[in-house]
């Protein structure tokens, strides 16, 4: 049943843009923000003067190495003397930036809002992974000198243990996404790989290997949101935002069952209810679930009820999640194939909703039947998820 909520405006995505994602880009974070915003506005047929407000998304300031990063990046969006805010929920930031921009417009306060996300992972030395040390509890966990990957390896291994999942099946996700990314013009980690390549790549933290992980990259991505009356003036094919959801679990991750992301189930339910979707497996044409690690795609499919618990690997094995399958997952190539500049990576997934549902995805195009697509991101201490559902046509 549809949620009984009132909002002033229906909200549409009418433009999207993103930079190339690369290990290191020479451009400054402000310049990357500018490029993504400019591309999104051009694709909407607008320019900077048309924008009424901005929502900026970026993960910890410690990556770019600039504090008050939202304010810093706003220059590149030409956001001066306009209402601006920055949102930050760890890895889930990219999608949350779009959600936040949605309520700017849905509330009736603004007709045109730009949501832009940027991350420059290459600034921090010796490696951005060291910055992640500071997300652990500073007193009871940090003294053990944890690497970021430990936490995901622990979750992955718990997931494998609980449902008896093989690494070969998880590796298929990397193979699929890196192949999909061959058709993405911004991709940094696309390629033809085999399951053996993944299983033979360097073991970082068993069970996590090099090709199980998305590469750290620099990049930015942006979308333009408009109220219905403005959207109709600019386009015949607006992509409507039909549902949004977000949810945060306890920070005490050691006391939680890691094999299943309950918080994502709740976030998904919130978005499904609002979008009037009761059978996501059938009603969604594709989903851009968050895939910083290959097992996360499976984990998230289950949390979003696109697969039964422990059964997502079967769907991958059967080819259902391929671009020409019954339920394409990450047709963009995802973080594993395109790259992972934290907040920008989540926004890249929202951009993909726009390109797919307006038939602009070129070789990446999936078949659109019901017109629904979903994007999701995830982050913090394995505890938060953000979900957005859009409808095209």
């Amino acid at each position: 049943m549809k949620t009984n909520i009132n909002f002033r405006n229906r909200v549409a995505i009418i433009g999207a843009g993103m930079t190339i994602f690369r290990r290191k880009l020479k451009d400054t974070p402000q310049e990357l923000t500018y490029q993504a915003t400019k591309m999104a506005l051009e694709s909407a047929g607008m320019n900077f003067k048309d924008v009424e407000a901005y929502v900026i998304g970026s993960a910890p300031d410690a990556f770019d190495g600039v504090h008050m990063k939202g304010e810093y990046l706003s220059d590149g969006a030409l956001a001066h003397l306009k209402p601006v805010k920055r949102v930050f929920v760890g890895g889930a930031t990219g999608v949350f930036t779009a959600i936040s921009a949605w309520w700017h417009v849905a509330s009736g306060m603004f007709d045109v809002v730009v949501a832009v996300a940027e991350e420059k992972m290459s600034s921090a030395k010796p490696h951005p992974q060291a910055v992640f040390l500071h997300i652990w509890d500073p007193i009871t966990e940090k003294p053990l000198n944890p690497n970021l990957i430990w936490i995901f390896a622990m979750e992955m291994h718990r997931y494998m243990h609980k449902y008896n999942i093989k690494k070969e099946d998880i590796a298929l996700v990397s193979v699929k996404n890196k192949k999909n990314a061959l058709d993405h013009p911004s991709a940094s980690a696309a390629g033809k790989y085999t399951v053996e390549d993944v299983l033979n790549s360097e073991v970082l933290v068993y069970p996590v290997q090099r090709l199980d992980i998305s590469p750290v990259t620099d990049g930015a991505a942006a979308i333009v949101l408009a109220s219905e009356k403005v959207a109709r003036r600019y386009t015949d094919s607006p992509v409507w935002i039909e549902g949004v959801g977000w949810n945060l679990d306890s920070t005490h991750w050691t006391s939680r069952e890691l094999a299943y992301p309950l918080y994502l189930e709740y976030a998904g339910n919130m978005a499904y209810k609002m979008a009037n979707i009761d059978n996501p497996r059938k009603q969604l044409d594709f989903a851009e679930v968050y895939d910083p690690f290959n097992y996360k795609e499976l984990h998230h499919m289950e949390g979003l009820k696109l697969a039964d618990k422990g059964k997502a690997p079967e769907m991958v094995r059967e080819g259902i999640t391929q671009r020409d399958g019954d339920l394409p997952i990450c047709p963009s190539g995802g973080l594993l194939g395109v790259g992972n500049p934290i907040a920008a990576a989540g926004m890249m997934k929202v951009c993909e909703l726009y390109w797919q549902l307006t038939y602009q995805a070129d070789k990446r195009q999936v078949r659109i039947k019901n017109g629904y697509g979903l994007a999701q991101a995830w982050g913090d201490l394995m505890q938060v998820s953000t979900v957005i559902i859009t409808r095209g046509g």
């Binding site: 509890d137 243990h161 890691l258």
Partner: protein, 169 residues
């Protein structure tokens, strides 16, 4: 059609040829451990694990908190807990905190402490990597091995690691 502006990639081999401005941050903090964690750390120095019990949900929180994060009420009492528990997940790390290759691999994981009603603790586990890879360590009972009393300082590292109670085969 998606149109892309060209940003300028810097290839790995061109590193150092591009002008960059460097800066060394010196962000030094002194964090207050608070009431509950202070006691926890002081008990670690004595070789004991202590938690706070919530009489509403009957959980014992380790590390202890002054509030129960489920019931939203103050916790009720201090309770010593056994330094034993069941391994719920474990991994083998070959890298350091900043992604360099580690000199020696190390096993870490989560241990669900006995009789706490769900308190998990994150620590090192002293076990051969093969028992992680074949997942034999999962579900097994492990016990804390402590530093010598005179070496303990009241830190989570006063526990050297957790060790299987029965030898794994």
């Amino acid at each position: 059609m998606q149109k892309i502006y060209q940003s300028t990639p810097v290839k790995k081999e061109d590193e150092g040829k591009v002008l960059e401005i460097t800066y060394k941050p010196e962000a030094k903090y002194s964090l207050s451990a608070g009431q509950a964690i202070s006691r926890f750390l002081n008990e670690l120095k004595k070789g004991r694990l202590i938690g706070r019990k919530c009489n509403n949900c009957n959980r014992i929180l380790v590390p202890p908190r002054v509030y129960c994060d489920i019931c939203f009420r103050p916790t009720n009492e201090w309770v010593y807990v056994k330094d034993e528990g069941i391994v719920t997940t474990a991994v083998v790390s070959y890298i350091t905190v900043d992604a360099r290759k580690a000199e020696k691999e190390q096993v870490v994981g989560v241990i669900q402490l006995e009789d706490t009603n769900g308190a998990g603790i994150f620590h090192r586990i002293n076990v051969y990597p093969k028992f992680v890879m074949n997942r034999k360590i999962f579900g097994k009972k492990v016990k804390a091995v402590w530093k010598e009393e005179e070496e303990r300082v009241g830190d989570i590292n006063d526990i050297l690691y957790f060790q299987p109670v029965e030898e794994l085969k």
